[in-house]
Each structure stands twice: as structure tokens, then as C-alpha cells.
Symmetry: C2
């Protein structure tokens, strides 16, 4: 078992990822202006990544009997938009590192980074327009529509998260958190890749709600696990700074549980910590918060919810893919799902 | 003659602008999340504006015999994208005022403003997808393609302008400036509204180059005049702070002429001024620059170029619209053109 699950998972992610990247780079202009734009649009894509979302799309299309080539442009668009959103997210979250290197705005300044992100979003439209050659105009427009929906769901989720942080909101309840995750994580990483993969695979547009449920439960399980790992994970396996979410003031299910069960004094202490500029938040304060979260059982509670959601995701998977016949891709999806919901939590 | 030309120009801009705005507001969600997103997406559109670009699109479609209703969604998309780009431009240019009020990022902070701009860009896709109901899927995809092209040309122009400013470039020559204006101003405000208006009006996609030329000469004439008015205009008529471009360090044709003809000492003095943070640039330094630009004949030179381009735009207009038969809209376009190239320079 390596960092991305079993051998089948690794090899399929590599295969679909390589195909997506090869086609993606053909969509990046090499024209002028290079220095301030087109040398930069390829920066994040060149840094790698597991190509998890495009693989989910391709595997779903193939599971329903459609060859990879028919899904490739759609997969490219998913990955381009992902990179576009990372650039803007990094500015919005004031992140300094992305995939082990300085973020775009750290390297180039905020104005040029915003413009590079905008350009990548536009470039993501091109493979979707080119889809008309292989998928016909109606399905192409439908996939554009799904893409607009997904990106807008993400923006809605991002708005909630940014707003809570900016206004130092400490009354985020579980339902608020789950709505934010549905919009920000589930639509983006799970629901839309599966839905448009299924559309390319010939599924009827009226018959996609199984993917919504599957994507929701899987996405929520994944995100809650990710939030738990951020606090108690093994840094080497997890790949990010442990406790980084506390320093960032990220509102998680763990915090929602804590806000509900802590004393007024504890809540006030947290509010003061989150109210300070990030650079002034001290490690000993973060350590106190981590202890308090443990003490109130907030981390254990999140673990339980993640586990419950993961079990439901498995059930929903079987329903959503019941008419699928591509056994290799189904097996890949099953193993991927298994890996995602059974990481070291 | 009022601020937007003659009576016909004013009344048609009002009519097409009102129709566009009415439809535009139907495309703005009123759902949650309101406070951090959907209350904000309508902010810039509600501030008004002359709706010049959508009117150009509608008038072109009508001039070629297609009713307003057929062009309306395309016009809405132009205006939505315009507002999206204004929000990001205001961040990138560090502008504090927009249409007489504080800019989005001044009110809401940069992270939320980026996200609101992204959302408006996405919303701009929706009327273009809805076009399939009236224009059919092929033409709808074609207009999406034209829109992606225009927005990318704008981003390329913006990249040049941002890069020149960030790196304090003082060897911008006339050809550099004209390329930047072609991309940033002409495509965005003139070429694309005319091209997609003509497409809606039933023109053949292979027969649009006349609009490229018309839009280029008109756009360049307009922008160069705007740069001149920024330095020597009547503040009341011009509507912006006189000399603001100097404080912003904006690279103009006037500066390109100056860079070519000034002494090394003068160039150095300008470079030092532009190298300082904006808040440290002093009025007396700006006054010296204005005198130097006048002394080298740079402002007069720009006036001459604008006038030459304006004359060519008039010729190109007659060529591009030679098969048009909608006499009222042609007359509107002619008067609009006349107003735009004969402002008080």
C-alpha cells in the first residue's frame, strides 16, 4: 500500500493522469506574452498532483462503456479549472506553499497571480467547446452547464469559509459546516467529475442524482478525515504541516462540535486567538486549542461522523454504478473509495 | 449634446441598456450565501454604467436584421463579464473608487472580492448556454468560443500592463503599447461586441474580419484619447481625476513617445518616480512629468495618432456594415462612433 492506495489505484491514477496531462499541455498557449502570462499558466500543472479528479471522470465514463478518448477533453478541463482555483484559493487563504514550492502570488505578486488564475479558467473552457467534435453540441453544452454549476457551488462554499474567517464567526454549527463542505469539496472533487463522466458515458441527464449522493457522502467523509489528520496525523504521510488548520483559523466539524460544547471562557479564548493576525498566533496557543479539542471529544466525534459517512458512501457507490459494466474501472473506483475512506485516521 | 453624445445616442443607449439590465438582474441568484456572495454580485451592476458594450452588440445584430430579443442574452453576458473584470481589475490596479463609490475589495477585502469576481464570470456563462434555446447549439457554442477568446485577449493585455508596472519597465515602445491596447481595450470593448452581434445577426463566421479592423482603429483611437484626456481634460466632463494615470504609472502612447525622445536624465527621473510606492509619489513630481510630456510634444503626438486612427475607423465602419440594412441602428452606430472619436481632446 503506497501513498495513493493499492497497486491498481496507483497504476490507473498514473495512466489516466498521464493522458490528461499530455492533452492538458496542448491547451496551454506558448505565445506571447510569455513572461507575465503564458510562462506562468503551466507552473502549477507542471508541479504535479495526483490527477484524482480527471481520473474519477475518465473511470466513470469507462465504467459505463465509453472509451478514454471521449472523456479526455472533459478531464483536461477539470484539471485546468482545478489549477485555476488553486491559484485564487492560495491568494484568498494567504497560503505561501503549494506542492512544496512558493505559491503563484508569492512568486509573482497578487495582481499577476489573479490574472493567471483568470486565464487558466478561460483555457478550461476550450476543451469543453472542442467536445462538440466528439460529443456533439448538445452534450457539450450540457457539460459546460455542469461545469458552471460546479464552479459556482465551489465559489459559494468558498464565500462561506472566507466570510467566517474574515468576520471571526464562532457560531458555525454542524449544518453550516456540512453545507460548506458539500459546496466547496463535494461538488468540486467528487460530484461533478462523476456526473460529467456519467454523461460522457451515455447516462441520461435526468438520472444523475445517485452520483450527487455518492459524491456528497464520500466528499464529506474525505474532508472530515482530512481535518482530523491535519490535527493528529503523521506529517510524513499527511504531507502538510500538522495543526496548520488551527493557525489558519479554518472552520471545521471539529470546531463546530467544540463551539457547541465548550465554556464561554474557552470560546472567548479561541475568538481572541482567531482575531489576531496570523503571524501573531503562537504555537503554545495552538497547543492549548488542540488539547481543548481533544478534551471535549471534538476530534473523536469528527472521526465517528467521517466513519458513518464513509459507510454510506460505499452503499451509495453500489447504487450509482449499478448499471456500469466496465469491471476494471469499477474495481479501480472501489479500491480508490476504499483507500479514501480508510486512510490513517 | 450631452455627456454621451446626441439625443439618438443617449436614447438608444438608455433603451438597450435598460433591456440588458432588466435581463441581467434575472441572472443574479438571490439564494444563500447572501452576505458573503450574492448580495455582492449585484453591487457593481447596480452602480450603473452606460451599457455601451451590450448596446454595441444589440445595435449590430439589429443592423443586420435580427430583433433585440435574439441578442439580449449575449448582451447580458457581455455586461456580466464586464463587471467581473472590473472587480478583478480594481484589485490588480489597487483602485479605490469605482463609479463614485469604494471598490469591492476596499469594502469586502481582497479574498471575498476575488471570489465575487470569479462568480460573476461564471454567471456570465449562463445566458450564453441559454442561447441554445433561441440561437441553437452551434451558434451558442460559437459565441462561447468568441467570448473565451475576447476574455483571454483582455487577460493578455492586462498581463502586459501589470508586468510593465510591476517591473517598472521604461522601454515600452509604440508597438508594445498598441498591442496592449488591441488586446485589453479593442477586443473587449469593440471587436467582440461587434463580432458576436454580427453572428447573432446572421453573418457568416468567416466574414468577421471587417469588425476586427473597425474595432481596432476605434478602440485605439478611443483609448489614446482617453489617455490624453486624463492629462489635459476637463475633470467635470472627463469624470476621473486628471493626471491619475501618472500617479498610477500607466504606460501610455504618450509615455512611449516620451521614452523615445527624452534625455537619459529625464528617463531616470521618471523611473525613480514610478519606482516609489504610489502613496509616496508627490503632486509636484507629477506636475514636472506633465510639463516634460508637453515639452517633448508627446501629448500632441498622441492627439495626432488618435485623430488618424479615428478617421480610419470611420472608413472601416462603412466597410464592415456595408450589407447592413437596419437604418435606425446604423444611424445610432454612426453617431456613437462620431461622438467617441470627437470627444474634447
Amino acid at each position: 500500500m503506497d501513498a495513493t492506495g493499492g497497486n491498481l489505484v496507483s497504476s490507473v491514477l498514473r495512466e489516466y493522469g498521464d493522458a490528461t496531462r499530455a492533452s492538458l499541455f496542448e491547451y496551454l498557449p506558448t505565445a506571447e506574452p510569455r513572461r507575465y502570462l503564458y510562462d506562468l499558466v503551466g507552473d502549477y500543472p507542471r508541479r504535479g498532483g495526483r490527477a484524482f479528479r480527471p481520473s474519477l471522470c475518465i473511470a466513470t465514463a469507462r465504467a459505463f462503456g465509453t472509451p478514454l478518448e471521449m472523456a479526455l477533453r472533459t478531464a483536461v478541463s477539470i484539471e485546468l479549472l482545478h489549477n485555476a482555483m488553486l491559484i485564487h484559493d492560495d491568494i484568498e487563504d494567504e497560503s505561501e506553499q503549494r506542492r512544496g514550492r512558493p505559491t503563484m502570488h508569492v512568486n509573482e505578486g497578487v495582481p499577476i497571480a489573479i490574472n493567471v488564475g483568470d486565464t487558466l479558467s478561460l483555457l478550461a473552457m476550450r476543451p469543453l467547446i472542442d467536445n462538440r467534435e466528439t460529443l456533439g453540441p448538445y452534450l457539450s453544452l450540457r457539460i459546460l452547464e455542469e461545469t458552471e454549476r460546479m464552479a459556482r457551488e465551489s465559489a459559494e462554499g468558498q464565500a462561506l469559509e472566507l466570510g467566517w474567517r474574515r468576520d471571526n464567526v464562532t457560531d458555525v454549527v454542524e449544518a453550516d459546516y456540512l453545507l460548506m463542505v458539500l459546496k466547496k469539496t463535494c461538488w468540486y472533487s467528487f460530484i461533478q467529475p462523476c456526473r460529467i463522466g456519467a454523461l460522457v458515458g451515455g447516462r441520461d441527464p435526468s438520472d444523475l442524482s445517485g452520483f450527487d449522493r455518492f459524491g456528497y457522502f464520500l466528499g464529506a467523509a474525505f474532508q472530515i478525515q482530512d481535518d482530523v489528520l491535519n490535527l493528529v496525523g503523521d506529517r510524513k504521510k499527511y504531507g502538510k504541516e500538522i495543526g496548520g488548520d488551527i493557525f489558519e483559523g479554518k472552520r471545521t466539524l471539529i470546531l463546530a462540535h467544540f463551539f457547541k460544547s465548550c465554556s464561554d471562557a474557552e470560546k472567548q479564548r479561541l475568538k481572541v486567538f482567531f482575531g489576531k493576525p496570523r503571524a501573531q498566533r503562537l504555537p503554545r496557543e495552538a497547543a492549548w486549542i488542540l488539547d481543548a479539542l481533544r478534551g471535549h471529544g471534538s476530534i473523536d466525534y469528527a472521526r465517528q461522523v467521517a466513519s458513518h459517512f464513509a459507510q454510506t458512501a460505499v452503499t451509495e457507490f453500489e447504487g450509482a454504478y449499478q448499471d456500469a459494466s466496465g469491471s476494471d474501472d469499477l474495481e479501480f473506483l472501489r479500491q480508490l473509495l476504499d483507500y479514501m475512506v480508510n486512510r490513517d485516521v
